[in-house]
């Protein structure tokens, strides 16, 4: 009991720090039944995390979500704010859900399943988001509902980079079926801002949705004519 009381501030701190999820709604992504999926049940293996080897990503791992970048206060999707489940796990899970909704494959399964004859593997090189901090949004948040309404439309410039490489479809016996190569997208635009730098996490999730939408179309196009 005594240990529990002593540990409780630490537990509260952990819950306050790691509280962002990689998630976006998929209810609007349902493909019609006229869309013919690739006739394969595919395991979507957890992506290999290569982000630490990309220099640009280094700041995500050692900094809080609000940092001073080249003299400007900047919001980043700091690693310390993602839930205990790793970024690669969460990105993979969203890919599975999105693939199923879009009817890319007959069935997509997270990581491993004995019901699948194929597996898709890849490497995550970047899941990077940065955005200028908004002082206006911070001030607005101090004035309750009126302030929130007044600053609801504020946007600031930012950059989000999503990079997946070595995306390959294999048979369970290890035979390569199709090499999709890499898929990279850099979003350089204005994103919605808030006063506490949580916005960058939401914006990165939104861009992941767009990225996966186009990744699905690329895979679909590349699989045309491939004999399974």
């Amino acid at each position: 009991m005594r240990k529990l009381i002593l540990l409780s501030p630490l537990l509260l701190l952990i819950s306050c720090v790691a509280n962002q999820r990689i998630f976006y709604p998929t209810s609007d992504l349902m493909a019609p039944y006229t869309v013919k999926p690739v006739p394969a049940r595919v395991e979507i293996r957890i992506l290999t995390d290569n982000r630490l080897n990309i220099e640009e990503n280094a700041i995500l791992f050692n900094n809080p979500r609000q940092i001073d970048l080249e003299g400007k206060l900047t919001c980043i999707n700091s690693e310390m704010h993602y839930k205990k489940d790793s970024v690669v796990n969460q990105v993979t899970m969203m890919m599975v859900e999105h693939f199923n909704k879009a009817r890319l494959f007959e069935l997509s399964v997270y990581n491993k399943s004995e019901h699948c004859k194929y597996y898709l593997a890849g490497t995550l090189n970047s899941f990077y988001g940065e955005q200028e901090f908004s002082h206006g949004a911070l001030i607005g948040s101090q004035f309750g509902l009126i302030g929130a309404l007044a600053t609801a439309g504020i946007k600031t410039p930012g950059k989000i980079v999503i990079d997946i490489s070595d995306l390959k479809l294999f048979r369970k016996d290890g035979t390569l079926v199709k090499d999709f190569g890499s898929f990279y997208k850099e979003y350089d635009e204005e994103f919605r801002a808030d006063g506490y730098c949580w916005c960058i996490f939401m914006n990165t999730n939104e861009m992941l949705k767009d990225f996966n939408t186009h990744l699905i179309e690329k895979i679909r196009a590349d699989m045309e004519g491939v004999n399974l």
Binding site: S165, S182, F183, Y184, H214, A221
Partner: protein, 253 residues
């Protein structure tokens, strides 16, 4: 010697590889190899930091693209809007810019200070804001209340006046920028007034004009502000004309 030849071949192949060009509407140039074009998206390979990467851009963001010798290129034959001139394809982006429109509701409260009367107006504006048109004509419902300044017409022998009027007209908005609108007003007024010296009420007509600036946020909800001047000309026995300033404050929802 062998290493030099291999390096030379690699350099030549990398140079030849990026033979296509995409020019975005932002002015950015992308040296790349276009791999696929469908009705809305352009897929391409490009080089970054010694890596060959695949990426895409939507046609909404593309001004033009140039294709080198056609190799393994799949073109959507239903896309007939593109004009080919010596391998340069200029995109008609108006097709890809989707017209957006949203219905906007505003409720505002505006204290008014005129030369001969002071009061306030409560207004509801309802209008459809289209991305392709700078003008918009809102539906306006308003309620106005004001007090006449007794000193403005010392020759008028009255102690009390009861005035009511209705107005109908046009109050268009003209979009100057993303959040700034020119707010114009032209209204015909018809009303009745009764003085304490009269037995019956008397009708009057007139016109009211206004010119102002309104700031309406682009978000779905927010605070609305505005400043305008107004002019009134009436056939009333009491309140014949006025000229004043209104400060508007309200909400968008």
């Amino acid at each position: 010697m062998k290493t030099s030849i291999i390096m030379l071949v690699m350099l030549i192949s990398l140079g030849c590889w990026s033979q296509d060009l995409i020019i975005l509407r932002s002015g950015e140039h992308i040296d790349c190899k276009i791999t696929n074009i469908d009705s809305t998206v352009l897929y391409y390979n490009f080089q970054k930091n010694n890596r060959i990467l695949s990426s895409y851009t939507v046609f909404e963001d593309v001004r033009s693209y140039r294709i080198g010798p056609v190799e393994n290129l799949q073109i959507d034959s239903t896309n007939s809007l593109n004009v080919r001139t010596e391998n340069v394809v200029v995109i008609d982006t108006t097709k890809f810019l989707k017209e957006s429109h949203e219905w906007v509701n505003l409720i505002t409260l505006a204290p008014a200070l005129g030369m001969y009367a002071a009061g306030w107006t409560m207004r509801y504006y309802g209008f459809s804001l289209r991305s392709t048109s700078k003008w918009t004509l809102p539906v306006v419902l308003s309620f106005e209340r004001f007090n006449l300044d007794r000193g403005f017409n010392p020759e008028a022998y009255f102690e009390e006046v009861d005035m009511q009027y209705y107005s109908i007209g046009l109050n268009p908005f003209y979009r100057i920028s993303r959040m700034c609108f020119l707010n114009l007003g032209f209204n015909f007024i018809y009303g009745n007034e009764i003085l304490n010296t009269w037995v019956d009420s008397k009708s009057f007509q007139g016109f009211a004009f206004s010119q102002g600036i309104s700031f309406i946020p682009s978000s779905k909800a927010g605070i609305v502000t505005g400043l305008s001047i107004y002019e009134k000309i009436l056939s009333s026995e009491v309140y014949k004309k006025d000229f004043g300033v209104k400060v508007e404050l309200g909400v968008k929802f």
